[in-house]
Symmetry: C2
Subunit: 269 residues, 2 copies
């Protein structure tokens, strides 16, 4: 016999009311937005590339907050103390000494791109000699150059060359236009891993890196960084189409009063 | 004597659970985001200026959907069939014949900027001779040129000159770089009304109108359009600081396959 239990009804209603909702605090503020996490298909971006290039090297976003904005990401930590890569919700840091570590929830992030990754298109590539060749093969698959894409690309790497970042101290002397061409470089051969990143249309201008931007982490979590060059086999390219883009600017005095003049782009089209 | 009523408890819990939340459908998709409407402080932008300049004159956003993204807005309707202005949640259309009408929920929008307006700073100006003079006075008040602002500016207008749009038919021949310099112009003297609009930092590039962009609607709802020039008294300038910016691109074949080459900016700094 079924008995109507009003207490149970109240509980069920409350649970139903809260399911799929997730509290997403806005960085550096007390404001709060409720996002249906699983269905969110927004390119989330913290700070802007133009500010990052021009020595805005401290942000207010925490690792915990970034995880609420996506399960894949790339970026950098405060003071350029490591390249940031998130794969399947696990956030890594690759520091200037070449070490890769998992990240604590309260670690501060200066710059990040993130998204909740859904595979909307995938294809395999038996072999590519270099990064340019991969981009050409992906370019053939893009349904439009006027939208955004997220990528997860797993493969066996004969060679991988990744860039790191040298930790900076205040007062900051050089911007990324100087630091990136002089970045630490790490190389490894014959191992497997995943490239994670994004494609932005050219109209993104100085707000982000135009065209392709990929970071990498090895399967064994001991090698990671900004993808510079590689030779690879058995690549599985997974793509997510993104039609909405959201960015949040820092609220620090350095950002608010900054005069951004230097430009830098990777130009990986 | 108080009696515990479990049915009432369930109802109260449900109401508490739903308060301040608002279902926001994403234009042109079945995805859904839940936003705490009252606390949302995001610059919402539908389509991009670059596409709009380059003849993407049909959008998928409805008037109803736009109202879920803000209570002030500016923009245009599909086929350039009128300038769009939203003031205090009321959405108006100013067509090429000079008429101003309230808008139906299913009217389609090709381009819009919107925000939920909260006054964070306000000041009064006794008299301004022209638009440039107003911008100079506001520029003195902006705490930063690196964030976004929304404005509501009510006043008594000795003169107001507003631009309209001529409705276009397919195939579209001219972009905004041709249409705006040849737009219909409407003038009126000695009446009151409100200018509504936004300031974007220079780094916004081709994504939106850089610097100031204001639309206008008269108190009597009979005169509206894009603010070109004016002379005014008793201005009350209300400003909202915005640190987050979200844009959604159209999903039409015309947008996805578009080659955007022509640039146009109002340059109202």
């Amino acid at each position: 016999m079924k008995v109507f239990n009003p207490f149970l009804t109240a509980l069920v209603l409350l649970i139903a009311c809260n399911q799929n909702q997730h509290s997403v605090p806005v960085a550096g503020s007390t404001e709060e937005t409720i996002v249906e996490k699983e269905k969110s298909d927004v390119f989330y971006h913290y700070s802007i590339w133009y500010a990052f290039v021009n020595k805005i090297f401290e942000g207010e976003l925490t690792a915990k907050e970034l995880k609420e904005r996506g399960d894949i990401a790339l970026g950098s930590y405060n003071l350029l103390d490591g390249e940031l890569i998130m794969l399947d919700g696990v956030l890594f840091k690759a520091t200037e000494d070449g070490k890769v570590t998992r990240v604590k929830d309260d670690d501060k992030i200066v710059y990040a791109n993130a998204a909740f990754f859904d595979v909307e298109q995938s294809f395999e590539i038996k072999e590519v000699d270099n990064y340019k060749s991969l981009r050409e093969k992906i370019n053939e698959q893009l349904p439009s150059k006027n939208i955004f894409y997220a990528f997860k690309i797993h493969g066996d790497f004969k060679k991988m060359k990744c860039g790191g970042l040298n930790k900076q101290d205040k007062p900051f002397e050089d911007g990324l236009d100087v630091l990136i061409p002089n970045r630490p470089v790490f190389e490894r051969e014959n191992f497997s891993g995943t490239m994670v990143g994004f494609f932005c249309p050219e109209f993104i201008g100085n707000i982000n890196v135009a065209a392709y931007h990929l970071h990498f982490v090895s399967d064994d979590e001991t090698f990671a960084g900004h993808v510079m060059e590689f030779e690879a086999e058995n690549l599985k390219v997974e793509m997510d189409y993104i039609y909405e883009y959201q960015f949040a600017v820092p609220r620090s005095p350095e950002y608010l009063n900054g005069n951004f003049e230097n430009e830098f782009q990777y130009k990986k089209k």
